[in-house]
Symmetry: C2
Subunit: 229 residues, 2 copies
Amino acid sequence: MDSQNIKVAVDPVVFGYENGSLFILLIKQKYGPMKGKWVLPGGFVKDNEPLSVAVARELKEETNVTVDYLEQLFTFGDDVNRDPRGHIISIAYLGLANPKQLDIQANTDASDVNWFEINKLPQLPFDHNQIIKKGLERLQSKVHYKPIGFDLLGDEFVFSDLENLYRTILQKEIDRRNFRKKILSFGLLEETGELRKTGSGRPGAVYRFNKRKYSQLESSGFHFDIKFA
Amino acid sequence: MDSQNIKVAVDPVVFGYENGSLFILLIKQKYGPMKGKWVLPGGFVKDNEPLSVAVARELKEETNVTVDYLEQLFTFGDDVNRDPRGHIISIAYLGLANPKQLDIQANTDASDVNWFEINKLPQLPFDHNQIIKKGLERLQSKVHYKPIGFDLLGDEFVFSDLENLYRTILQKEIDRRNFRKKILSFGLLEETGELRKTGSGRPGAVYRFNKRKYSQLESSGFHFDIKFA
């Protein structure tokens, strides 16, 4: 193999959750063929740079953000014309974050940065709407068998926050009683002892997700698993 | 982005199932740094070639095989030294086939081709053992929620074939009575009317998987879902 005219990029799809809405982190492109358009905060991989390092670097450079949860999603390269600059494949990553805990700032290739509500996304260039769609599908499927929802909540939350999160991600109503019973049966939520008032109802107990306990359970064969009718 | 010294390859991990054993399709490399070694039948993507076309082409060129089931698995590119020829990322694909229905023949970059039992694989060069491990994990997880096992069986099979297949993939015993009840409850297996004798027991009814019915059910929201205790 002497030469190959294909370039490799990475694109993070970072989901954020706040007040019953799911958001995606986008930047406004400062240079290039899509100057002035909102796009995913990705870019080209450097020589001798691991893919996972590249995606975290691009995200940090363009948005000032470091997220704890970042997993490989899918590699887009079946449409050889997906980028007007030539044959570029993109390795997409799924990221999860709590917007309140992040200080977003546009930098390097970005002239602006913002969270966009998933149901009100603009028409994006390249195949970025498709990449986001794939990210949402992975998120919707994965919350059933991994407790990744907690990466979208703050460290402490009342139970109705968790219900709202699942309702928002799955875009449907859930059976609250069964959901509560199932989640609590895992023994992974611990009460902080505090109460918090949300909305007009009674104050609710404040919980924390016990990550350490989950790691222990997981390594001994436990499967997190929630079904919705 | 003016230049980038990264190359893009594809590697198919094709599983075959026969007589209670799970196999992987490997070729003996004819050229290059791993000449004479058994490796996955992959290769470099051509300019302006979609990734899914590239992986099917490499597989066909090197092994003479075309498989019906081929899905993207994972992109390997965190170890920048995974290939001694330079920074090469590999987009791995999971393939499923029935060895009886395939006529394997070594060609182009392959001096030999063969099926290797998954539990008796040689130590492979590059990160190919890791890629196969990832493929097995995907297969083991996916048979719980997609009826992909049928791509590994022949068109017609007795029930014990299906039990053996699941036992082999999951590498553990399964509750036969529950498994049978659950699988039959989907209404996706149809009896051909024939009986087939296997082993020393009574002859068993011969079944066929109704793909068309599954497609219809799936598009109306049905989820294939099997649990094992």
